[in-house]
Symmetry: D2
Subunit: 145 residues, 4 copies
């Protein structure tokens, strides 16, 4: 039962800013996409439906620490870990490496919600077909820990 996921991503020109490095906000897009790849790998696209309502994962809280700049065309190794599997929410940790160098460390907490056709959303317990496939990562899972 997976508790983590690895993916890779190359930094694009549009990810950079005039400081010549990847713009700090883009790391959150990289995290979100890694999370979606992880859910997809479980057969649980973020576009899943529950009783014909669209499932979604609005963010509760996010953070990122930047340890070293990342540059255009570099390929980042992204490591997603399930830090906490709650009843109605998930917390993921992320590490970004370029080779051996740790570039950034992030965290995302997201609530499991259904979207009603009028745009309203309501937090719900994580459906079993997702929850049953995920477990929390053991402590100290980070590389080198």
């Amino acid at each position: 039962m997976p508790h983590d996921f690895y993916t890779k991503r190359r930094i694009e020109f549009a990810d950079t800013d005039m400081a010549g490095i990847m713009h700090f906000a883009r790391f959150f897009v990289f995290m979100e996409t890694a999370e979606h790849e992880f859910l997809r790998s479980l057969g649980a696209s973020v576009e899943s439906k529950l009783d014909n309502l669209r499932l979604g994962w609005p963010r509760l809280a996010v953070s990122c620490e930047y340890l070293s700049p990342a540059k255009f065309e570099e390929v980042l190794d992204i490591h997603l870990m399930v830090a906490r599997k709650g009843n109605k929410s998930m917390t993921y940790k992320f590490e970004f490496h370029r080779g051996e160098a740790l570039i950034a460390r992030g965290q995302v907490s997201a609530a499991c919600c259904v979207f009603y056709p009028d745009g309203k959303l309501k937090a719900i317990p994580i459906p079993d077909f997702i929850a049953s496939q995920i477990q929390e990562a053991p402590q100290g899972e980070e590389r080198g820990a």
Copy 2:
């Protein structure tokens, strides 16, 4: 009856790329926002409803010519002109100036559509409360023409 609209916008850090200039794709966001400001100035937000269906303006075709680079913190003068008012679509032209210098020239054609709750969309004649307020710009309206 207006046929054009003026707005200003300062280039943000996140608009730039590692070449030190505004990323070319951001010009389209500037055009779209100017278009929305124009519609809002007519009391016709892009979030308008028609028979309780959401109105929207998906793009049919867009283009942009870049004449001079634009840099961080510069303020661009944006001039929107109504190039064509069709039955179910609008075509806008845009000019971006920094002081006297012409930076870029763009064009956007958008279809007037209603969105159904299932996500489908259908082109409709531009509702009268919008169409009645807009006219096409006379030819040769561009600055200096």
Copy 3:
């Protein structure tokens, strides 16, 4: 001597995602732009030079908590507070309100750096023409505290 700054910003179409709300990563762009407006209000653009080297503020750590969704065309009130003025870094707190409703709370720590022409950067003490103009906000400054 200012320890905070207020600005406003309307949510654009390109700020939204298919959940119909402002994309969570865009809050960081709103924070960054508010920070730059604050620095500019002190006469200290982020584009300042020191001994002919470009000054910049790469991010050390950022975070955001999301309390309520924000939607297209809404105008957010953004309140920047100087949480910490270090020797070589600054920490800002941010609050986003829509009317009375608190939408999100964020934090950004940034290092004061010079950029060398080869792209390298080095942390430096915050130049006096900036540091002398800023003070830390008193504790409990958040609205309603």
Copy 4:
């Protein structure tokens, strides 16, 4: 000697807008990244150097026609064709398909430039190590033509 290039790309959550489809400006990022993959496949990264100056390809003109909406998680097939190899510029055409369906058609003209350390840029003849590897696509290359 290649005159075209194929790549694929999955639409991310952050590529979408509140209309539930891929935001129109993101197509230009997809085109730019495909162009960079093409150059990289020739051993000619956009980060190439010439006489120790950075090479770059600022855009002269771009356009896109949208034929059908593209949605979250869909995988687009992107076909780049060399429409024109000039002395100092390149023009690429792009087609985006989802399966058999043509989603969008785009075009990008870019000037070959060197960037001086002061940020100035100058158009130059396309260096031979790039120009010698590329040829124009025959007319009528588009799929189905």
